[in-house]
């Protein structure tokens, strides 16, 4: 497969691994946070960590939109289903996330709710057209990669005068999350996240461009390298971060030049701006309430906003007792630090979103890496 296989060549991996071994200085740690669920997945699936020297560690950040969605929002969706006869359309990942009272969308479906898994917002629009007498709600989640498709769907619904389609909007913004992470105080509950540099998200960046990251390097003096999606991209970006740290630089570098430009995809940005506006505040799992970090649908498109169409109560749900998702999402703890990990909480019985989503740290640790005997990050010792 062109532009995929070339970026997965084992031979180049060996060379890059050697370059990293040579370049990383033995006298310091390199704690690199990767922000994109796809990066977490690539690192685990290809075993990239195995090719790194001991002092280069990846920390998994809140780059998984399924993981950062607070439980309360799923409770609200389930409440909507219980009180209205709607068809709820959702991406697959979301179906198994545990909500309050051991509920989930999948369980709600088993109990009779009409919940349909879709691959694309286009599918949700089709369901709306095919079922004109029923209300169709699309459960929108995702960072800036997935937001433009939702914007297109809303505009298309308006253009076609579709009267039974609306969106339950939970789109979140990457720069706000990054800012929130960098400003986290040390917290005796959640611990402290020590991060030296960031691997920037691949496809979010292809939409927003590399420009928004300049604020962060300037303000927080930590380097950011926007990394492509494939394992070789991750390794090359790691090398670039190590070089920056060695040289005391803190710049925005772009490794993923084949898909990311300075300005990004302006057509997509314009569409997003047309349909969405900032929420004052939105709750993130693991980060608490973050200002200007999420989107809601503009009043011009109010008829496509599920929260306007239906009365959906806001739900504040408590975290499951013992679940360390919030700390893990911030990179302050490892999955193996969580008492529930592997005992009660496993992929077939997930207690928190980090174990459900295949991008979540816990699921990745469990499914790909639990044969490793020990891991050390920021002095936190644990046995995998």
């Amino acid at each position: 497969m062109k532009y995929i296989d070339e970026f997965r060549q084992g031979r180049l991996a060996t060379q890059l691994a050697e370059a990293i071994q040579h370049t990383a200085r033995a006298d310091r740690q390199y704690r690199l946070m990767e922000f994109c669920g796809g990066h977490t997945h690539a690192i685990f699936r290809y075993g990239v960590q195995d090719l790194m020297p001991e002092n280069v560690k990846y920390i998994h950040g809140p780059g998984c939109p399924v993981c950062v969605l607070p439980i309360g929002r799923i409770d609200s969706a389930i409440h909507l289903l219980e009180n209205h006869d709607v068809i709820l359309c959702s991406y697959g990942d979301l179906l198994r996330v545990p909500a309050s009272q051991r509920q989930s969308l999948l369980k709600a479906r088993a109990a009779g709710a009409d919940i349909r898994m879709v691959y694309s917002t286009q599918d949700a629009l089709k369901i709306s057209r095919d079922n004109p007498t029923r209300e169709v709600v699309f459960f929108a989640i995702g960072f800036e990669t997935t937001t433009p498709p939702t914007a297109v769907a809303i505009k298309q619904a308006q253009g076609e005068d579709i009267k039974n389609f609306s969106v339950y909007c939970n789109h979140v913004l990457t720069p706000a999350a990054l800012k929130s992470l960098l400003e986290l105080p040390e917290d005796h509950i959640y611990g402290k996240t020590l991060v030296d540099g960031f691997l920037g998200p691949s496809h979010v960046s292809s939409i927003i461009g590399s420009r928004p990251y300049e604020y962060f390097t300037r303000t927080y003096h930590k380097p950011i390298v926007i990394a492509g999606f494939e394992p070789l991209d991750v390794m090359q970006s790691t090398l670039m971060l190590i070089r920056q740290l060695n040289e005391g630089r803190y710049e925005v570098e772009n490794e993923y030049t084949r898909a990311v430009t300075y300005e990004g995809n302006q057509k997509a940005q314009a569409l997003m701006a047309e349909v969405f506006e900032l929420r004052d505040s939105f709750e993130w799992r693991g980060l608490g309430n973050v200002a200007h970090s999420a989107l809601k649908i503009r009043s011009d498109y109010a008829m496509f906003d599920s929260e306007q169409r239906f009365s959906i109560p806001t739900s504040r749900a408590a975290e499951i007792k013992g679940c360390e998702c919030p700390a893990i999402l911030r990179g302050a703890r490892l999955p193996t630090d969580c008492k529930l990990f592997g005992s009660v909480c496993r992929p077939d019985n997930p207690m928190g979103a980090c174990m459900v989503s295949s991008e979540g740290s816990c699921a990745a640790y469990w499914s790909y890496g639990r044969f490793r005997q020990s891991q050390t990050v920021s002095g936190v010792e644990s046995v995998a």
Partner: protein, 77 residues
Amino acid sequence: MCLAIPARIISIDSATDMATVSLADIEKQVSLALVSDVAIGDYVLVHVGYALNKISIEEAEKTLAMFAEAGLIGAQP
């Protein structure tokens, strides 16, 4: 949400703003609503049924060359 895959455009339907893309032996319909100036033969990133961006072939080659170069530097004592 990042899973986006490069695929090649093999046909375009301007009326519906859709394209057929091909990846190895698989063909899929995607929306072109988020991109402009694409032509048959171009590679685009595909995500949840949409083309997100065009892949720059020039930059792809440069990146691959960069990997190889890094490897050489690593090999030096």
